[in-house]
Symmetry: C2
Subunit: 187 residues, 2 copies
């Protein structure tokens, strides 16, 4: 075996790219975030790891709500901008279009392909980050991103992120049917 031991600070390959919407100090803000995962099936819960120094962390703690928005690859510049510029210094609500659903403090980005509005249900305190767990109470998309009523990743054309090389990627080819293609290995 040719395995080599690399540093423990390794990452997930790849992270999805999302934009987290919050209302902070009375204005809408969006932050780029890759540390996101579903964490529970029923009810639908999603978790996000947010550095405790981020403006977004303050907003989630204040309003107990947030949104998760998927940019298309066409939105690469604005998505990266949301990751570079802090809402502490720049009022991003002036340059981005957003809308609201049921929650009046979880702005969602209009241009995004899929938006989920979330109600905070738990906060796990970790050494450098908060891990916020939210219940998805509604999700919004457009007909053009659906196939058979389900979001279609090739139509959404989202971005992926790898760290620590800090590169964005698109989604490639269809590779196979899940919970199916492995059946041939069953005895």
């Amino acid at each position: 075996m040719m395995k080599i031991n690399i540093e423990a600070n390794t990452y997930v390959y790849p992270n999805p790219v999302t934009l987290v919407g919050t209302e902070v100090e009375g204005r809408a803000n969006f932050m780029a975030l890759g540390w996101v995962s579903r964490v529970n099936a029923k009810p639908p819960l999603v978790g996000i790891g947010v550095n405790r120094l981020h403006f977004t962390a303050k907003g989630i703690q204040e309003t107990k709500t947030f949104s998760i928005n998927y940019p298309s690859a066409d939105m690469i510049e604005v998505s990266d901008y949301c990751g570079i510029v802090s809402g502490k210094k720049v009022d991003k609500s002036n340059v981005l279009e957003f809308f609201y659903g049921y929650l009046k403090t979880a702005p969602m980005m209009t241009e995004s392909t899929l938006c989920m509005e979330c109600k905070l249900v738990d906060t796990i305190e970790l050494p450098s980050n908060h891990f916020f767990i939210g219940e998805i109470i509604a999700a919004y998309t457009e007909e053009k991103y659906l196939t058979d009523g389900k979001p279609d990743i090739k139509k959404m054309n989202p971005l992926l992120l790898t760290m620590p090389d800090n590169r964005y990627w698109t989604v490639g080819e269809y590779a196979g049917k899940a919970w199916s293609i492995g059946k041939k290995l069953k005895k």
Copy 2:
């Protein structure tokens, strides 16, 4: 705006495909898992959402250790097999090659492109799932998967998963430099 409200049980686009290694009832087991994210920067913590009925959940609770392994797209059949067949019924340690690092109860899959061995540091109890938080204590790869000493996703060629359409995907084209391409939008 043409937004439509779809069901709240929406997913992350896309999930990375991983295989979680555990030792359960004295034998190595691997389960396919897409609900994974880094959750903390320093120390490097990773979280996984595991249904409490899974054999893997039992192993993590017993040994307080687990591993996260990235299959290449060439491993699509064996990865899916690990998601279809429960270790409760089939001893997968007979059909998979694995090795150990520092922890003697966190088997890692030899064929995987990148393996992380993790020590359990916290368990969050959610309605249908455990959310296990592990500290990555070491990571293993092979020289052929590195570029400039960092894992290179195009060399690793991992799998992505979308739900609820249950389809696997590969990673596509390089799209741009993170924390850089958005600078042109700064005033």
